[in-house]
């Protein structure tokens, strides 16, 4: 037996991978939320076919495996002559994937604001923009926030898939450590604990928000 054990260096290496995971998540959530807000408002307020067409296009991102999307964009970027880093590609794919889900969350939340409330705002002399920013969005936030937190955590977990295009995030870094130490269970246990520590408190906070805002 080789007695290579998991050293502090290995754990630090994995924590660095966890940093990459969080960085990917940050860009994916930011891009996904900005796009999702725009698309979602469009979906909720635009009439008829533009809204349906946008919905159908975004549905493609939710009906094709994320890994396949990553592979496709990774293969297509050089065809277009774009010289993008694997990290950029990972962020782009995760952000569009997140946007597809975020759009539906925003749409459902905006549509959950009762129409009479909006009409009342308008009849008080508020402009369309006033109504949107002062009435609709604050009310929609309460409906949408738990789902949005779930989406952010989902993106954090799905970011593991970018290991396929060579980004050394948490899961890939643990795989590298496993290759060296030959202790898969221990190393994966540490990786799982890191994921859990990131995800669990936020998931709990989301559940708390949901309970608190539903009671009122």
């Amino acid at each position: 037996m080789f007695d290579a054990t998991v050293s502090l260096q290995d754990v630090l290496f994995m924590l660095h991978g966890a940093g990459i995971t969080l960085l990917l998540t940050f860009w994916a959530v930011l891009g996904g939320t900005v796009l999702g807000l725009g698309f979602g408002l469009l979906r909720a307020t635009a009439p008829g076919w533009p809204s349906l067409a946008l919905g159908a296009v975004l549905d493609v991102f939710r009906s094709v495996p994320l890994l396949i999307q990553i592979i496709l964009v990774n293969a297509f970027a050089p065809i277009l002559g774009l010289d993008l880093s694997a990290f950029t590609i990972g962020c782009i794919v995760l952000a569009t994937y997140g946007a597809a889900y975020c759009t539906e969350i925003v749409r459902a939340s905006v549509l959950a604001v009762p129409l009479p409330t909006r009409r009342a705002a308008r009849s008080l002399g508020m402009t369309w923009w006033d109504d949107l920013t002062a009435i609709v969005l604050p009310m929609a936030l309460r409906v949408g926030l738990p789902g949005w937190i779930g989406l952010a955590l989902g993106l954090m977990k799905d970011s593991a898939l970018v290991l396929w295009i060579g980004i050394i995030e948490l899961l890939r870094s643990s795989q590298i450590v496993i290759t060296r130490t030959q202790q898969p269970l221990l190393v994966l246990g540490i990786a799982g604990a890191i994921y859990f520590v990131i995800s669990f408190p936020i998931a709990r906070a989301g559940a708390w928000f949901e309970r608190r805002w539903h009671d009122q």
């Binding site: 094709v64 495996p65 977990k157 899961l171």
Partner: protein, 220 residues
């Protein structure tokens, strides 16, 4: 753009890829079936008075929902080797997805069980049914009606998750077959765009079938 697309080899490989689709649907169906069974058990365990069962169920559910599905597949494929349990890629992928499905479905089932009035089971008991009988004949059918759509969603997600078999070396499902063809020709974009289309069609076909089935199942 200095790239010539070659679609002919992809069309020639279509029968192989379609055979891969069958394996993909098989894995998803198997993982969903196991996930449903384990999910019901977890939901019952989570609400049971037995502290050990409730703790174990809670640990499974929270672990399954707070770590990536890919991580769970890795655990089945690489991690179980430490116990002398060497799963094939197929088994590890199915087990990983089933484990993940069970944790998410358990929470769905728990919500569904709460929606069924306790008086239903009590009425069944007072008619002379045993506890398990009342659960199987009265509670379960009502539960499945409530959680039918979440289950179909989970099954679609399972189909999409099967693509992760790629990372543990599965070469018989749609993603695996596509990757095999890809390493032979390096026509990555062409092969995987057709694979993406096939995944899309599988997902849509499943939704359609489940909607039609729902009409038939829930007529009354």
């Amino acid at each position: 753009m200095h790239y010539n697309f070659h679609w002919r080899p992809v069309l020639q490989a279509l029968p192989q890829m379609l055979a891969g689709c069958v394996v993909t649907v098989e894995i998803a169906a198997l993982a969903t079936a196991i996930g449903i069974a384990a999910g019901v058990a977890l939901a019952l365990g989570r609400t049971s008075a037995n502290r050990t069962a409730a703790g174990l169920a809670l640990a499974w559910i929270e672990f399954g929902r707070n770590t990536p599905g890919l991580f769970q597949i890795y655990l089945a494929y690489f991690g179980l080797g430490s116990f002398g349990l060497h799963l094939s890629s197929f088994a590890a992928l199915t087990a990983g997805i089933a484990f993940n499905n069970a944790s998410y479905l358990a929470e769905t089932f728990r919500g569904g069980l709460r929606a069924i009035p306790a008086t239903q089971a009590r009425a069944a008991r007072s008619l002379g049914m045993s506890g398990p009988q009342a659960f199987r004949l009265i509670v379960l059918p009502q539960l499945f009606r409530i959680v039918y759509y979440p289950i179909t969603n989970q099954m679609t997600l399972s189909v999409l998750m099967t693509a992760l078999g790629l990372t543990v070396g599965l070469d018989t499902d749609l993603a695996g077959v596509t990757q095999q063809l890809n390493v032979l020709t390096y026509r990555t974009f062409e092969y995987f765009s057709v694979a993406a289309l096939l995944y899309y069609l599988i997902a849509k076909a499943m939704m359609l079938v489940s909607r039609l089935l729902a009409r038939r199942l829930f007529r009354y």
